[in-house]
């Protein structure tokens, strides 16, 4: 068994469409202060290393990692950035502690999506510059292509995808940190503007701002710092091909492979039975269903039935995205995995009030990096 590492403190801001009152520095400072207070650590004395999460063009800086240390209390400390999802940063921090050389590591991610005033153009800028970018008008077309192939392969319906939106936005109404809760119907989703058929406006999660900081510690220290350590039981991450021309459109291969790695590490044979609560990537509605299959919570083509039968509702057999997910909380870009992890931590600690999943002891957080990527990251957490 790999030496245990635990999350001993979390800090976060609310997630909102805009945050005009705070700079990116001030937003992270708020989350960091809360995380350190909860963990009972002083970043200037106790924390051995810091991992931030940033992509240059999301932040609007070349070499965006320059601007991470000050607001984390990390000046003149070992600090690095991961150009990826928060969950990849969390895994980096986890590996640092497993080396036996660092004991307390802080992890950060932040979204200031409201400051990116040309988000569509920006997402397009991630496409292959020679083969794909000149052909594309709107980056969501990749999701439209994938959704159509997924529906075709699995006989899942657009209505079933719409039910995901209805469920997640409803869950978000009970989540004080979520910015996009709403009471809507399946018809509302189906009748909203088509963005890239079969994808409608409401099938797509809205961009949001926010920041998350977490503190991780080795077993010995975690037990001293908190009565409720949340242990990292398994991690997995994977990138499938970047090429649009040769990827598998029907399934999320990267999620499947990352899950196999994480389940093996966490010694999980039957995910549906052994995992109590799931936060997975729902940047687009169909992705929740596609990811449920890739995570082996059901066979291929059966996720639609799970939503039909209420299995993924908060009171269901396998609650999925009780926070409201990206559809209800907002799409946080590189901070997406942070919100997923945050919700699992709060659920396992039993601290979320109305949206609490009963008897939650093992949870899974999953993030996908959005179009046009095929990168998926997973952490399995437990009490």
């Amino acid at each position: 068994m790999i030496k245990k590492v635990a999350i001993v403190g979390v800090g976060y801001t609310n997630f909102r469409s805009t945050t005009p009152d705070l700079s990116y520095r001030e937003l992270t400072y708020e989350a960091a202060t809360k995380a350190y207070e909860e963990a009972g650590v002083d970043p200037r004395k106790d924390i051995d290393s810091f991992v931030s999460t940033a992509e240059d063009f999301f932040e609007g800086y070349s070499i965006a990692d320059e601007y991470c240390p000050d607001q984390l209390g990390a000046v003149l400390k070992p600090v690095n950035t991961i150009a990826g999802d928060f969950l990849q940063s969390l895994i980096t921090a986890y590996m640092m502690i497993l080396t036996g050389r660092l004991n307390i590591v802080a992890v950060q991610a932040m979204s200031k999506a409201s400051n990116m005033t040309t988000l569509g153009e920006l997402e397009l800028f991630a496409f292959d510059p020679v083969f794909n970018r000149p052909l594309a008008e709107n980056p969501h077309f990749v999701a439209g292509l994938e959704m159509n192939r997924y529906l075709h392969d699995t006989k899942t319906t657009r209505e079933q995808c719409a039910k995901v939106v209805v469920k997640n936005k409803k869950n978000a109404l009970n989540n004080p940190y979520a910015g996009h809760g709403a009471k809507i119907t399946v018809e509302d989703v189906l009748n909203s503007k088509i963005i890239s058929y079969p994808l409608t406006h409401l099938d797509i999660s809205p961009a949001s701002d926010g920041a998350v900081v977490m503190v991780l510690a080795s077993e010995e220290i975690a037990k001293k710092l908190t009565r409720k350590p949340i242990w990292i039981r398994g991690v997995g991450w994977c990138s499938d091909t970047f090429s649009l021309e040769s990827r598998d459109w029907g399934e999320s291969t990267s999620t499947r492979l990352a899950a196999e790695m994480a389940y093996k590490m966490a010694d999980i044979d039957n995910p549906k039975k052994e995992i109590d609560v799931v936060e997975l990537s729902d940047i687009y509605s169909y992705k929740e269903l596609q990811h449920l299959e890739a995570l082996k919570f059901c066979n291929k083509g059966e996720a639609g039935k799970m939503i039909d039968n209420g299995i993924t509702e908060i009171g269901g057999e396998l609650p999925v995205n009780p926070s409201g997910g990206s559809l209800g909380v907002g799409h946080l870009y590189e901070c997406s995995g942070a919100q997923k992890t945050l919700e699992i931590v709060l659920q396992l600690r039993g601290e979320v009030g109305k949206r609490q999943v009963k008897n939650a002891n093992i949870g899974l957080a999953h993030s996908w990096r959005g179009v046009p990527t095929t990168t998926s990251v997973i952490a399995i957490l437990g009490n």
Partner: protein
Amino acid sequence: MNNKKLNFKGTALRSSDIKEKKVLTTSWKPSLQYAWDDGVAIGRYLKELKNGKIIARKCKKCGRIMIPPRMFCELCFRPTDEWVYVKDTGIINTFSISYVHWDARRIKEGEKPFIPAVIEIDGASEGMGILHVLGEVDPEDVKSGMRVKAVWKSPEERIGAITDIKYFKPIIER
């Protein structure tokens, strides 16, 4: 590989290969835009620049008066405590005389070089400098340790930006 000769790949192109279309090229001009929230500290800093003043923040724990201002002390990791107006004069910590624009274009014949400098602002803690440029001075006369003063745009021209200060110029000591 120990006995094998190393085989390094990589093919150099010349500019002429592109001009003469020996290789095909494609281009993309991104039109990315951002509207950064300036937040509490920098928001006030810019507002004061519009008023023709420079403002800093003080941390009572370490005693530092910090510019540019920040709402947290990065060394003590606690909120800063109060606003402090500092002077628009200072000392040159270090400087350069630059003959290149930001994108590596050379300045034109006869054009004056830029003189960027780190200026330690009077009233802020020792060593607290900002990046700005110098003006009304011959490049050969600039020295580290020289005292300088801000030259402001007129109140009508000021917009709440670091460029509300046109440049810093030497203070002639009498």
